[in-house]
């Protein structure tokens, strides 16, 4: 059983599934889409400070708080 959490308070270093991204702020939505951060994508949070660093597949991205705030994740159950 897992609960969705905002990315900014998700645990570090474990696989997370993006479950939702904010669709209200269109400019932010465009950037998140550009980064491929869509629902269903598995990510890993590497650090929170000074930027949020996310590993997505073989890539890593740094995001600021504004962008990170637009992402909700779910922890992936170990199978």
């Amino acid at each position: 059983m897992s609960l969705s959490t905002p990315l900014v308070s998700a645990p570090i270093g474990v696989p997370l599934t993006v479950v939702a991204i904010d669709e209200v702020d269109r400019a932010r939505l465009k950037k998140l889409i550009t980064l491929g951060l869509l629902p269903g994508v598995i990510v890993r949070l590497d650090r929170r400070w000074p930027c949020y660093v996310l590993a997505v597949g073989a890539s890593r991205f740094a995001l600021d708080r504004t962008l990170a705030d637009g992402i909700v994740v779910d922890s992936v159950e170990p199978s």
Binding site: I21, E23, R26, A27, R28, L29, K30, K31, I33, T34, L35, G36, L38, P39, G40, V41, D46, R47, W49, P50, C51, V53, V56, G57, A58, S59, R60, F61, A62, L63, D64, T66, L67
Partner: protein, 673 residues
């Protein structure tokens, strides 16, 4: 940030600069080795030109195939057909307006899942597409494997595996390009979109003008997302009112933002397509590079490393080796002892008139000032800087600096993205002012332009100040100078951010794996930057030489025009509590920032101009902050506008003399020793 209107001249027209030959365009996101592929395909003979109406550079080169030669176009990095930055806008514009005969979509073999959506979009745009799965060596090394035959048959376009940096797959890519160019026009491609979006798109398509250079269904999709350029381009041919309301109507039937719907359905389609195509490694390998990367991103270890890198690259590299050793050899040795005396006697022998002799040799001569400056001062300093910058760039270090600096820069109204122009500014502020275009908003570009003009000394200045301040007052004077300039950077940046309306844009950056730079690529980059410098910036200094010559050619009322200008500058020198003789230095500063400084310190060192340490500090700080050089001013006009360039220069002048005057009146004797 809202989609802002931009007036950078990208209007759809019949004007397609690359028309007339068979064109092959390389398209793809940043960091997939597109430039390396361009170099591998074309050899080193790229022509770099600004795309008309913009400042975004596009490289073109002839591409020799078996039976013919076609034109290869390298486009700026683009993630999607929905542009966020100017570079993406230009890349898209090249695709739509120049309609290349073939698009080579370059992707990273490790990131197909995220990057193939663009292949779909390119096909939907009616373009003939070939997929180059690049960086296959890295992917293989990490344990990825691909079934390219399966990918080819599902995707319906040719697929070639390449490792551009190792020259692998290039022959096959060329062969495939040639074969593909011989085929008929591409078949219509149905973009996988959800049914509701399909309906909205069809409803909108009725309102679109015929014979528009963009494929109708794709255009409808772009309009649904409020694409400002497309709206404007279509409105120019149709009454915009009916179009806008049609867009509004079509969108009302959608439950969610069209960009989200499209991205989600493209992602689903890509995942289906890749099923069985890619085998990803079970565990990502932890090589040395991936262990070092976190150290660079963590401020506790990253900031000391950053300081060490800056110290080694800029102070030891550019300052000590470039401005110190190399400049000395060239300026005093080659030019001072050999070339200039030879030119001097040659010119004086050939031209009997002293006034004409002075155009070439003498204090402001084209050879003794202009050319000496170009080869002896600029070549070593700027060349070394560009070399080090290219090394940092290719190693993947720059985005790490952006991560460390983002929070600080946010307080100045900027984001981590400002790192590239600001660091480049330490090499050449003029080039950095051009590079402000990597930033998202006009506001950020203006703020960065101001900070570059004010508080970022270029390598020519850095070299001089580092050497001369250290020589006169030791490390203490050097540190005080650096502290004063950095403080001005922070205070003015903060104040400008407060005063200018608008907010910072949100920041993201891809962190590519750290790599050992390839010599060939680093040299090519360095060479292309230096060529730009010599073609664009140096002629302006030669003209400045001519202007100085002309201004000292004749006298009016007992003084040359230059003398009158010096006279007018004297009150400024007095305000800084400097001797009147320093006025000439200030004036030189406008023509060439470092020359003014050199002049001043030469005077101080030889005792011709007796200055206290505090006066030296005042002069150094004021000259560092001072107006941008002629070349930088002209680029500011081109990138911003005359009005903004003048406003920036006004602020810079006021701050430079304000701060200079303040430092002159501070009780610093104790500190300076």
């Amino acid at each position: 940030m809202s989609a802002h209107h931009r007036d950078d001249g990208l209007h759809f027209s019949s004007h397609a600069p690359f028309e007339g030959s068979v064109r092959v365009a390389l398209v793809g996101p940043p960091n997939v080795g597109k430039s390396a592929l361009f170099n591998a395909l074309s050899g080193a003979y790229a022509a770099v030109s600004n795309y008309p109406g913009t400042t975004v550079a596009i490289s073109t080169a002839p591409l020799a195939l078996d039976r013919r030669t076609v034109k290869l176009i390298d486009t700026p990095g683009m993630y999607s057909l929905f542009p966020l930055t100017d570079e993406e806008r230009v890349a898209r514009y090249v695709l739509f307006n120049d309609t290349p005969d073939l698009v080579v979509h370059v992707v990273d073999a490790k990131n197909l899942e995220r990057q193939l959506a663009l292949t779909f979009m390119l096909r939907a745009a009616g373009l003939r597409v070939l997929l180059a799965v690049n960086m296959s060596d890295e992917a293989e090394h990490l344990g990825y494997s691909h079934d390219l035959d399966l990918l080819r048959s599902r995707l319906g376009v040719p697929v070639v595996q390449t490792a551009a940096i190792r020259n692998k797959g290039i022959v096959e890519l060329k062969r495939t390009i040639e074969a593909e160019l011989a085929t008929g026009p591409p078949a219509d491609f149905e973009l996988p979109v959800p049914p509701e979006m399909h309906r909205a798109e069809e409803a909108l398509a009725e309102h679109l003008p015929p014979a528009f250079p963009v494929h109708r269904r794709l255009l409808a999709l772009l309009l649904l997302q409020d694409d400002p350029e497309m709206l404007e381009a279509v409105a120019a041919r149709d009454s915009s009112e009916s179009l806008r309301s049609a867009v509004q109507d079509a969108r009302e039937h959608l439950r969610r933002p069209p960009s989200f719907l499209l991205a989600a359905s493209l992602r689903a389609a890509v995942i289906d397509l890749l099923d069985g195509v890619v085998t990803a490694p079970q565990k990502s390998e932890r090589g040395l590079a991936s262990r070092v990367a976190p150290l660079l991103e963590n401020p506790i270890t990253g900031l000391p490393i950053l300081l060490a890198v800056l110290y080694l690259a800029f102070y030891q590299g550019v300052g000590v080796i470039g401005a110190g050793v190399l400049v000395d050899r060239l300026e005093n040795g080659l030019f001072g002892q050999w070339l200039n005396p030879a030119a001097d006697s040659l010119v004086r022998g050939l031209l009997p008139w002293p006034w004409l002799q002075n155009l070439f040799v003498g204090d402001y001569g084209l050879i003794t000032l202009g050319l000496t400056y170009a080869i002896a001062l600029v070549l070593p300093v700027v060349g070394l800087f560009f070399l080090l910058f290219s090394l940092l760039e290719d190693s993947g270090y720059l985005p790490r600096i952006a991560v460390l600096m983002d929070r600080l820069f946010k307080r100045l109204g900027l984001s981590g993205r400002a790192v590239i122009p600001l660091v480049l500014g330490f090499g050449c502020d003029t080039m950095a002012t051009l590079v402000t275009r990597v930033q998202e908003s006009r506001r950020e570009r203006l703020l960065t332009t101001l900070l570059l003009a004010l508080a970022i000394p270029c390598s020519a200045q850095l070299g001089l100040f580092a050497g001369l301040l250290g020589g006169i007052g030791g490390a203490r004077l050097l540190l005080l100078w650096a502290a004063a300039v950095f403080l001005v950077f922070l205070v003015v940046g903060w104040a400008a951010h407060r005063i200018l309306p608008g907010t910072p844009t949100s920041f993201y950056v891809e962190l590519p794996p750290l790599r050992l730079p390839r010599t060939r690529n680093v040299l090519l980059k360095t060479w292309s930057r230096m060529r730009w410098y010599f073609l664009e910036v140096l002629p302006l200094f030669l003209w400045a030489s001519v202007a100085l010559w002309a201004l000292t050619l004749f006298e009016i009322g007992g003084r040359t025009p230059f003398g009158w200008c010096v006279q007018a500058t004297v009150p400024f020198a007095r305000w800084l509590l400097l001797p009147d003789a320093a006025a000439e230095t200030m004036l030189f500063g406008f023509f060439r920032r470092d020359y003014g400084a050199a002049n001043l310190f030469a005077g101080a060192a030889s005792g011709a101009l007796s200055l206290t340490k505090q006066q030296v500090l005042v002069a150094a700080v004021t000259l560092t902050l001072f107006v941008p050089c002629v070349a930088q001013f002209l680029v500011m006009v081109r990138e911003q506008s005359v009005r903004r360039a003048l406003a920036v220069s006004g602020v810079v002048l006021a701050v430079a003399f304000g701060v200079g005057g303040l430092i002159a009146r501070l009780p610093l004797e104790g500190l300076l020793g």
